[in-house]
């Protein structure tokens, strides 16, 4: 009944393997966290630095934000794991509607 999803017949080996896998995943999490911190720093520096014009800085920090959110979703929230097909479909549908709404509010709202 328990641990039916394991491969070998020996529960102890499986547990060890799982622990190792969890630890490995945690390492990936820490790496993505470090990258997120770096991206945040770059974004703040890009805005703080006088040399960049707004035309460069704004798209640049938006791209950084999107990448960072990708890390959050796929690593921290485990969307890279199996069994996330339906969540992914609905998140992306949500993103599509979000995108349409924001595009609309940036273009065809009166000013």
């Amino acid at each position: 009944m328990v641990n039916t999803q394991t491969n070998s017949g020996n529960p102890e080996t499986d547990l060890k393997y799982r622990r190792k896998k969890n630890a490995e995943e945690m390492r990936h999490q820490v790496i993505s966290f470090a990258l997120m911190i770096v991206f945040t720093l770059i974004a703040f520096l890009a805005v703080g630095y006088e040399g960049f014009s707004a035309w460069f800085a704004v798209p640049f920090i938006l791209v950084l934000a999107v990448v960072q959110v990708g890390f959050q979703l796929y690593y921290f929230m485990h969307m890279s794991h199996k069994g996330h097909e339906a969540p992914a479909l609905f998140m992306y549908s949500g993103v599509l509607v979000a995108f349409l709404t924001i595009i609309c509010f940036l273009t065809i709202i009166w000013w």
Binding site: N3, L15, I61, Q72, A98, I109
Partner: protein
């Protein structure tokens, strides 16, 4: 496998958050809820972008007058770190280490409170230094509503995680509460996702002008 069964380290499954049908439903339903939340925050962002710097008179503060980089940077770092600590909590949940999970969740909660405190300080600062109140302009209404909705989510998330920690302090982990912890951590990450866009779109783009 019954959800309320007493668990041991040996019996603990690889994906405790999705072991029962109830857990699978909760997992999926919560993701769908986050899909809806995405649209909710997009609507708030859209409103903010449409109303940014829309003020009744020239003496009203604009985005570039208001925001200060150090404070926002500090808030961002705190919230990002709290995302990592909640990942640590889930890591220990998967390894059936209840004590460490509670510890990391506790750190997450503390960071959350620190963030919330800074946000309150920030709002207070705007109101008193710049007379930038909820009712002073369309810009201010949109700003406080967007950032305030996020703050309300942080508050709710804190209450939720604390309730879970207190409730299960004595009983430890089982397959009934593991999905609850997991879903609460998803919620916490989503709050961080929203913040990434808030600090980029509201604060950084506001400072760029």
């Amino acid at each position: 496998m019954h959800a309320e069964e007493k668990m041991t380290y040996e019996k603990w499954p690889a994906a405790p958050e999705k072991q029962t049908l109830e857990a699978k439903n909760k997992f999926l339903g919560f993701w769908f809820f986050l899909g809806g939340e995405t649209v909710l925050f997009a609507s708030l962002f859209a409103t903010y972008l449409a109303l940014k710097d829309r003020v009744p008179s020239a003496d009203h503060a604009l985005a570039k007058d208001l925001f200060e980089m150090p404070l926002v940077f500090l808030m961002t770092m705190i919230l990002l770190t709290s995302s990592l600590t909640s990942v640590y909590a889930m890591y220990h949940m998967k390894n059936f280490d209840f004590k460490k999970m509670q510890l990391w969740l506790g750190i997450t909660v503390l960071l959350g409170f620190a963030f919330l405190g800074l946000e309150i300080y920030e709002f207070n600062h705007y109101v008193h230094e710049f007379h930038h109140t909820f009712t002073s302009s369309a810009f201010s209404s949109a700003f406080y509503t967007l950032v305030g909705f996020h703050g309300a989510h942080v508050t709710f998330g804190l209450a939720w995680i604390i309730a879970l920690m207190v409730r299960n302090a004595r009983r430890g982990l089982d397959l009934y509460n593991a999905p609850k912890f997991y879903v609460a951590s998803l919620y916490w990450h989503f709050i961080d996702v929203v913040w990434v866009f808030i600090f980029t779109v509201v604060y950084l783009m506001g400072m760029v002008g």
